[in-house]
């Protein structure tokens, strides 16, 4: 009888151990929210002398990277503190107040699924555009706390370099007119070249005010048509 019980216990122990072999490793394979992924812009923040990495959202929420795939360290070029990033993450839980940076009001611990570093440029204020905008498709506009984030699609040849500039001739106008200039004169719509996607952020800190401001973004569409998008630039607490 005792021998039978021991055999059953041994079988159970083996079954449990074999099951555990198929389980995911720790936090790396957990997808807490199923197939839903949270997307956000933010700024990478790494305090001196502290290994913790935070991503500060535009609304002041701190996201502590509790688990990631190693992407922050393997990204090329490397993502450093202060970089504008677009992240894909899952929330694991709330942060303890002692873990929240002083400049932030609250925080979450997150599992970082993917990260994209976005190059950031300054807005040229008080000047008119010096050239015409080459055709470009603006597929995404995000008006953040201190940034204007754009996703641009354009035709490109392998050996051609493209540049983007944002002009604001009158920063004091009631409606901020922002002119996006795509510099890629040799690429035409009908030359059959490949379309490349590019994300870029423009620092709008100099344009901030205490009141919400309307903005109008001007650009030339991929078909050669002039386009305008109107939005509102919110104030942030």
């Amino acid at each position: 009888m005792m021998k039978r019980i021991l055999n059953i216990l041994l079988l159970l122990a083996v079954a449990v151990n074999l099951c555990s072999c198929s389980e995911a490793d720790d936090l790396g394979d957990i997808v807490p929210d199923g197939n839903a992924y949270v997307i956000d812009y933010g700024t990478l923040y790494i305090a001196d002398g502290i290994a913790d990495r935070y991503i500060i959202r535009d609304d002041g929420i701190a996201l502590l990277v509790a688990s990631d795939f190693g992407g922050l360290s393997i990204a090329n070029p490397p993502i450093v503190s202060g970089n504008r990033v677009l992240i894909n993450y899952h929330v694991l839980g709330d942060l303890d107040p002692t873990q929240v940076p002083e400049s932030c009001k609250a925080g979450y611990a997150i599992q970082l699924n993917a990260v994209l570093a976005i190059p950031c440029q300054q807005i040229i204020i008080g000047q008119e555009p010096t050239r015409e905008c080459s055709p470009v498709a603006v597929s995404s506009i995000h008006i953040g706390k201190a940034h204007l984030d754009l996703r641009l699609d354009y035709k490109s040849l392998t050996n051609q370099k493209h540049k983007f500039e944002l002009y604001c001739p009158d920063p004091d106008a009631q409606v901020l007119n922002l002119y996006l200039i795509h510099i890629g004169d040799d690429d035409k719509n009908d030359n059959g070249a490949m379309i490349s996607s590019h994300r870029i952020s423009f620092d709008t800190t100099p344009l901030r005010s205490d009141e919400p401001r309307k903005i109008a973004l001007h650009w030339v569409d991929i078909t050669g048509t002039k386009r305008v998008h109107y939005g509102e630039y919110n104030t942030w607490p």
């Binding site: 039978r4 839903a36 993917a114 008006i143 998008h229």
Partner: protein, 439 residues
């Protein structure tokens, strides 16, 4: 003296008439013990027979499994031995002879057997010799040749020792056989011919050949059954992006006024053509019909790609092991070529199913990759029909190819090529190895 003794005795008897002695208390015990000792000395001691209550011993689970496996093995060996014995069936010659003898029975037939001339020549000298012996025996005894010469000088010695000659056949009076010279087959020839025919028919009816095969097959879609959104979501192919709109405005979600916007990028599903490899065993029931079974392994690979703000790739890998069962009919069987039709089904079960999800960007794959095990339950049932041809390289080896169609039933299996294309063309090719009696 006698009177004195009598008086003495009378006195004792009168005095002791009323005298009684009490038996000791343990007298009977001592008697019983002594009697027991006497009995023990007289008979050999036998142990007392005790009937213990029967305790039914429960057959342990382990012992039951052992008995069951042993019984299955014995049954399998017995069946296999029976089949092996029948691999090379030998027609019962006595039975066949009994059948064939209806045409000609030398014992009962009134027709005397026809003897060839050659046999006639062989037999005749023996019979002639017997006739000479008979004649010698019937003649008066002759003690010596000299006496013959003296008694009859006209009788030559040679005549006494007449050797058989062809003329002896004329004196042969034992049989009156007359050789018949005819072009019609003799009854014996007919008998032999009929025997050969019966043996050939018996071979036709028998089977028993075992064939093993190694093969690979793939499928090509005949039907297209697009997966429903629920099915895609269940398979993890549907991705949802939650865009925080409360602190900005995103052109991609112009129509949304909610703080957050749930965006489902479209998923592009790609199923690789499944590849199946297997080992088969075929047993010929007759010269035409055969049964086939075996073991198969199938690999199913699917990829779903969704492009939203980020790029999501879901790779699904399924491994199935199955047991097919089919019947085939050979309608062309030549020396180096045969064609057949096959129909049957299969039962398959997923032995491994996992899903690998990767999140990345359009330009750079800097994202997480996670692996999940897919819950697999039940079995996959399928049916198939095919027409095939085999090229026989030699008696034991052949190359074959089949073309057919298969249908996979809806058995709640993970999303795959089969669930989206349940009706498909199948192409199978491989090698066959034949064992046993070959025709």
């Amino acid at each position: 003296m006698n009177e004195t003794n009598d008086k003495f005795e009378k006195r004792f008897s009168d005095r002791l008439a009323d005298h009684g002695v009490d038996a000791p208390a343990d007298m009977w015990d001592r008697i019983a013990v002594s009697m027991a000792e006497i009995d023990a000395a007289a008979k050999p001691t036998t142990p007392p027979i005790t009937i213990a209550p029967h305790r039914r011993q429960r057959l342990g689970l382990r012992r039951a499994w052992q008995y069951g496996i042993a019984a299955m093995l014995l049954l399998g060996i017995g069946l296999l031995a029976n089949r092996l014995v029948r691999l090379i069936p030998q027609p019962d010659s006595s039975k066949l002879l009994a059948e064939a003898s209806v045409l000609y029975d030398p014992a009962t037939s009134e027709v005397e057997p026809i003897i060839d001339e050659a046999q006639e020549i062989e037999i005749a000298p023996r019979r002639t010799a017997m006739a000479v012996v008979n004649r010698i025996d019937s003649t008066p005894s002759i003690e010596s040749i000299e006496e013959v010469e003296s008694t009859n000088s006209n009788v030559s010695i040679e005549s006494a020792t007449t050797t058989p000659s062809t003329e002896g056949t004329a004196t042969n009076n034992s049989r009156k056989s007359t050789p018949k010279k005819s072009n019609e087959p003799s009854p014996q020839e007919q008998f032999q011919k009929r025997l050969q025919e019966v043996l050939a028919e018996e071979r036709q009816r028998s089977g028993g050949r075992i064939t093993t095969s190694l093969y690979a097959s793939n499928m090509s879609q005949l039907s297209n059954q697009k997966a429903s959104p629920a099915r895609l979501a269940e398979a993890g192919m549907t991705k949802t992006e939650v865009l925080n709109n409360s602190h900005g405005e995103i052109l991609e979600v112009l129509s949304s006024s909610t703080p957050t916007f749930r965006h489902q990028p479209e998923t592009k599903l790609n199923h690789r053509t499944p590849v199946t490899v297997g080992v088969g065993v075929q047993y010929e029931l007759t010269n035409r019909w055969a049964l086939e079974t075996g073991v198969t392994y199938t690999y199913l690979h699917s990829t779903g790609k969704s492009e939203g703000v980020f790029t999501y790739t879901t790779t699904q890998q399924l491994h199935y092991v199955g047991v097919p069962l089919s019947a085939s009919y050979k309608f062309i069987d030549a020396n180096s070529f045969e064609m057949y039709a096959r129909a049957g089904g299969a039962v398959e079960r997923a032995v491994s199913a996992k899903r690998i999800q990767t999140v990345g960007t359009a330009d750079k794959s800097v994202g997480i990759s996670t692996t999940q095990q897919i819950d697999r339950q039940g079995v996959q049932l399928s049916t198939s029909v095919a027409v095939g041809a085999e090229l026989k390289l030699n008696k034991h080896i052949g190359l074959y190819a089949e073309a057919g169609a298969g249908y996979f039933f809806n058995n709640n299996q993970p999303l795959s090529y089969r669930t989206e294309h349940p009706l498909s063309l199948t192409l199978q090719a491989g090698a066959r190895f034949h064992f046993g009696k070959n025709e």
